[in-house]
Amino acid sequence: MLQDFKQSLVVSLWFVFLTFPLLVVRVNTIENVVVWRWSNILWVAIGSFVLSYFWRFLLLRRNRRQKQAEEGIASYGPLQAALDNILLRNRAMAVLLVLALIFPLIFDTYQTNIMVTALIFVVLGLGLNIGVGLAGLLDLGYVAFFGVGAYSYAILNYYFDLGFWIVLPIGGILGCLFGIVLGFPILRLRGDYLAIVTLGFGMIFKVMMENWETLSLGPSGIANIDRPGFFGVQMSLAQSTTYIYYIMIALVVLTIIVTNRLKNSRVGRAWIALREDEIACVAMGIDMARTKLSAYALGAFWAGIVGVIFAAKTTFINPASFTFMESAIILSIVVLGGMGSILGVILGAFILVLLPEYLRAFSEYRMLVFGAAMVLMMIFRPQGLISNLRQIYQYKGTKDKTAHD
């Protein structure tokens, strides 16, 4: 008791010391003024004191859980149990789908627009999840493929007047091609090197779009991109938004079906095995280069497709939309939701996109919270909000177990 108190006190003092220059003093070297914000000391002291109790509690709980898991006692939350119930799950999905379909009829264009953004991030999350969550390939430049899709529509539309529906598959294929070309040389790198190199690709893409003015019109971006057409029908802004919304719903459903099927297939199992142990994986006869490349390229494919939709939705894109921050947000979606878990990623996308949108006061702290959440998730809940559901297999087996028992 006293021990705990002392410890928290020390932590609290330590953080007061640590945050003192940055949180208390604010210098403005332009106007030569110093602002002293003494009250912040109090907040830091109280906050870190309380949090340190919390931190110790969580660590204790985590260690207890780990021990239980080692002894084979599965600890199952009620949510997880409910999700494992297939009947319940299917019903919930049906309800959700109906809700999704009537959403634009109930809410206004503004809300629908926000929802489209959320859905775009759902697809991005699911796409990145193939690489990061399933195959364990940490890609920090995922936004580049999103950018490839967006720019391919913007450019093809600007120079050649190509329509949305033609470019939609082209965007996906281009994303995929970029994934293959970039992935081919780098995918044999160790996981952490791969992260940095992909981060580099993301930056290179942005800088190229900024400087290659003849192609991308530079930092000022490409404007007046056509919205998706519907058999030549003229649409108002509201109608068009609703239309894009339904396109996104269709794409989300398609993505879910495809990733779900892949996850429980021969290919998907190979991805997961690769994430778990590369050496064991190749020793079991899996072609590492091919398996990694397929995961990477498939992820890029979804980013490319959804990039086209993004360009059509905003009708204006510039390089600033494709920074490391976007990659980081998509990564947090996957990490927060649960690596490898489709449902988790969807939930993660909604939380991370909608929360800052509706809690305006919070939006300033958005990246701060995302960063902290990534750390905390890794420490206390590495499986994410919703962990990967296990596939149940049916087998007959041979019933003559005479040799054993």
Partner: protein
């Protein structure tokens, strides 16, 4: 005794250097059809490194590794990727267990079927009849293998939650799933209690007899080695110092010295 049997694996003058360290020094050995051969030697002798060279994890510095599959032409394994080696019918387990820890026991074995099945991305998305049938074949085969090694009651457990001895047997099942004709086992009995060890030696014999799979095993448990394997190869400091039947090996002064040396060191 082995002259008229078909030679499956032939290693000639295998050498492996790590920087200045010669971990394996011109070792030659052969495994014939139907054999349970053993590779023994004190810790650090280079046995695992030998396995790693044969299975393609390392590319040996020099020497030849030749595989003579029955009815097919001879292949030189040097420099081949591990997955190619496995595809050719040579499977292995690891001394430091390397299971896919957050996959289920069944899925671990199913991974072994990967190189014997074909469904790619597009077919997996469409999931037509062929894919579903293949998937079912994978499941059934894997389940049968679990029964064979006595792990069917753990089928849906996570691999990491298995007891140690069971994990070793799961590694064997996973290797068997790749349909090998030669199986390399790296210290399969390490960390097992005497009861588990005796079960294991039965399992190894059964695999050898029922499945017609030749076996090369590294093992420290002399009782097990002497009981089931013939011939035995002995390594020390990277070199092969002896080979022969269990009786020859037991009486070989070099071998006794090598093992005594280890005991003094320990």
């Amino acid at each position: 005794m082995t002259e008229n049997k078909h030679k499956l694996l032939e290693v000639k003058g295998l050498t492996m250097d790590f920087g200045g360290l010669r971990a394996v020094d011109s070792v030659s050995l052969a495994v014939h059809e139907g054999e349970i051969a053993a590779l023994i030697g004190p810790n650090g002798a280079g046995k695992t490194t030998f396995f790693n060279c044969v299975t393609g994890i390392y590319t040996p510095t020099s020497g030849d590794i030749l595989l003579h599959p029955k009815g097919l032409e001879t292949r030189r394994l040097n420099g081949l990727k591990p997955n190619k080696v496995t595809e050719m019918g040579l499977a292995r387990t690891f001394q430091n267990i390397r299971l896919f820890s957050s996959m289920t026991v069944l899925e671990n074995v199913m991974i072994g079927r990967h190189c014997r099945t074909r469904s790619g991305i597009f077919r997996s998305i469409i999931r037509n009849r062929g894919v579903r049938e293949e998937e079912q074949e994978i499941v059934e085969t894997s389940y049968r293998l679990l029964e064979k090694v006595g792990l069917e009651k753990f089928v849906n457990e996570f691999a990491r939650n298995l007891p140690y001895g069971a994990q070793r047997r799961l590694e064997i099942a996973r290797a068997l799933a790749t349909d090998p004709f030669l199986l390399l086992l790296d210290e399969p009995a390490a960390g097992m209690n005497p009861y588990e060890t005796s079960e294991l030696d039965q399992l190894i014999c059964r695999i050898s007899e029922e499945e017609q799979i030749a076996i090369l095993l590294i093992e420290h448990d002399m009782k097990l080695v002497m009981k089931i394997s013939n011939p035995i190869y002995v390594m020390e400091y990277g070199k092969k110092i002896a080979q022969g039947s269990p009786l020859d090996i037991r009486d070989n002064p070099k071998v006794i010295e090598a093992y005594l040396g280890e005991e003094v060191d320990a």
